[in-house]
Symmetry: C2
Subunit: 451 residues, 2 copies
């Protein structure tokens, strides 16, 4: 086997004979000469087939070759003529003059144009195994991988330990209609909505932990923001003063991720409507009631007794904060105790409201977080207040019985963050293999997608 050269490595090998392997990304006939753009994991490179320069078998094979065929090409790297150079491509100064062509895999004629931006979401999702090969979607999921890497790198550097949280959890507990049920051998179990209980338990072990993993919500919503399975970026840490420590950590975490993207995927970002988010030294924060008063004053709509903001109000606030505070992010704190989970810490000064927060990014919620109860008796009482049976939480409660520091944490939705960063309207586009009400790959596809 000859040593393989990656597309981008060819730039430094002008004059040498190399072997390139990859997919046919484009094919252009110029009379007898054929140009093939070859795509590999590192990029693309132009190759040129001139019959007189090739073995006879290769000439015959080249005639057959179409898009997405996988080829092994042997030939010499040559510099392009001055007018043929493409300054926008990392390999735009060179091309491979094909000598031998070997077919590694054929492809049927494509059912759609991979770079066509006008195919609808339904078709896009029906053909994900090939639509993901387009330049834009490869860029999107490279960026997503780097978001995750930036998340981990920052937290590792801050003394956090990564944990592997289970997804099969007990049937009882918090319950609710939005939980998936699993037939667990002879029993019932459910799929974890988040690693909440496990990351809290692990604060008792490692003090600072994070987890990256699938989260499951049996929501019946078919919106541009909801998924039935998403990737949660979760963290939790002890020895905090209050929820502001968690908010401050998230601010610096986001700053690290944005810097990391600049360093690793700047060219990928350019393929999307990426505008670097404005992230001030301190992200503005408001209490829910303050926001509602503001909305009442500015728009006349009185929702000052509602337990949450409506999507339209979140969008309004996003715009308001952008204009007034030059921030694409805004924290909303102090959601009502009655509406937050039983582990949420109330504000001692006003116990009807909690030391919890949501983070809105460009008008869409991407994080929920806050301080949690760390005192066993308070936590048990909170469960009772919510009509829950502490016996069902015996395992989780062990952590609090045996010494848990003041602690808090947050969960960040990877796909929502990706979508908001890149100006993607529907979060399903920023999800590798989205599951929703009507779709698991091609199964369950509803008729309206099929038109």
């Amino acid at each position: 086997m000859s040593v393989r050269t990656l597309s981008v490595e060819a730039v430094s090998k002008v004059g040498a004979e190399v072997t390139i392997k990859g997919w046919v990304n484009a094919r252009r006939n110029m009379g007898k000469i054929v140009f093939l753009d070859i795509r590999d994991r590192a990029g693309t490179i132009q190759t040129v087939g001139v019959p007189s320069q090739m073995t006879p078998e290769s000439v015959e094979r080249l005639k057959e070759v179409r898009l997405e065929w996988v080829l092994e090409l042997k030939g010499a790297v040559q510099e392009r003529g001055a007018k043929q150079k493409n300054p926008n491509s990392p390999t735009g100064a060179v091309e491979l003059l094909i000598k031998e062509l070997k077919v590694l895999a054929k492809a049927e004629p494509l059912p759609l144009d991979l770079e066509d931006e006008k195919i609808g979401l339904g078709i896009h999702l029906d053909y994900l195994p090939i639509t993901l090969r387009s330049e834009k979607y490869r860029a999107l999921f490279k960026i997503q991988a780097e978001i995750v890497r930036g998340f981990r790198d920052y937290l590792n550097a801050q003394g956090f330990t990564e944990i592997q949280a289970p997804k099969i959890v007990a049937a009882a507990a918090e319950g609710g209609a939005d939980v998936f049920e699993v037939k667990y051998l002879k029993n019932k179990a459910t799929l974890a909505q988040s690693p909440q209980f496990y990351k809290q338990i692990m604060v008792g072990v490692f003090e600072r932990v994070f987890a990256v993993g699938n989260c499951f919500r049996a929501e019946q919503h078919a919106t541009t923001r909801h998924l039935n399975e998403f990737t949660g970026l979760d963290l939790e840490f002890g020895m905090i003063e209050d929820h502001h420590d968690v908010m401050n950590l998230e601010t610096e975490l986001l700053r690290h991720i944005l810097n990391h993207l600049d360093k690793t995927v700047s060219s990928e970002l350019k393929l999307w409507s990426y505008i670097r988010p404005e992230l001030p030294e301190k992200i503005p924060y408001f209490k829910l009631r303050e926001v509602q008063e503001l909305i009442k004053k500015e728009t006349g709509v009185d929702h000052t007794n509602e337990p949450d903001l409506e999507p339209g109000e979140e969008k309004w606030l996003g715009n308001y904060v952008q204009e007034k505070h030059h921030s694409d992010f805004v924290f909303i704190t102090h959601y009502p105790t009655a509406k937050r989970p039983m582990y949420t810490y109330p504000d001692e000064a006003d116990p009807e409201f909690t030391k919890s927060f949501d983070l809105l990014f460009r008008g869409v919620e991407i994080t929920s977080g806050g301080q949690r109860f760390n005192d066993y008796n308070q936590l048990v009482q909170s469960m009772k207040n919510k009509g829950l049976n502490p016996e069902d939480f015996k395992f989780y409660l062990e952590s609090f019985q045996y010494g848990m520091p003041p602690e808090g944490g947050l969960g960040l939705g990877l796909e929502r963050l990706t979508a908001r960063l890149l100006g993607v309207d529907n979060v399903k586009e920023a999800t590798l293999f989205p599951r929703d009400l009507n779709r698991i790959d091609l199964q369950l596809s509803p008729p309206e997608y099929k038109q």
Copy 2:
């Protein structure tokens, strides 16, 4: 809030007044003087309470303090007397002379001794939220986190892209009794046994991919090697010659992980029966039939027609290879085509057997892998041969219809690898929150665990 000093940072702050926060790891009374070992995320430090040096409130509080209480301690770092120094602890040359003591959280008296190595597995698992706090288990899961980090670092450096694979998958497909069923809104779905299909699809997109995530097996086995939910370290890559490329990659991946552990968790490894595995330049490999012939010759047991090795035979081979080849690892290749999944590539020279492999580590299987079909027609034919309906795999098959290079990959069980590395007998001990036939945390616990 005073700035916090971590236990290990105190070593360089002799003479300074600092604030330490952490759990009471040990308490020793010496007449009026009390020693507390304080544990935080970075390590432990000895603190000493001398009544004459403390505020009156702190003296009273110190009397109450017990194991696992969470404290904030202010005082001066002082060098210990020559005889009091402990060369085995990173903080063994210093101690904190307590001036002020604040209680951040109390703990009930512990139901067991955290460092007692003789408590049974059932009790250990019943009390995981606290038994995980012991020095040995904190070390174990730190090591596990670094195995995962080593896995990712190596693959990122080799041009692999991390993907987030879905866990909710279609109901039909490969099926089998060992698949968990999920009530998916109005339909049925199942939990993915591995990211197999998705990582193969993504080879068409990124050429080289990996995934770290939960895998689900509804196995009815209650053994020391089986889990119903485990962490899969999965990778898949294109442009290979055959399964040997995959085996070679795994060899270098393991080498990187072992080196990474030496660098990051050498002291944690010492707490377990860690003997650095022997990993030769090339891991020995044998065809299944060769191994069976060898066993027949050496032991007289004739299993030369069996489709797999028995656990006892794997153990025998592990010992044999250790002695003869000085390797703790051995690949077994060429499992029968009839017994491997439909995507497994057969050996052209002997199509009854496959270009697949298992990797045994110290006599236990930790990896399955191999070359896969990349040709659409061959793959469809293989499905039919196995009695499967290609229509059920339409989404997956798109990848192969539209150009897939020769490719292969593997899945590595994180918990099994951890257990074998550290000499842990039962894989459940190397699993953060193990699920088995009878256990989801405290739910489903069978009576025999409760004695």
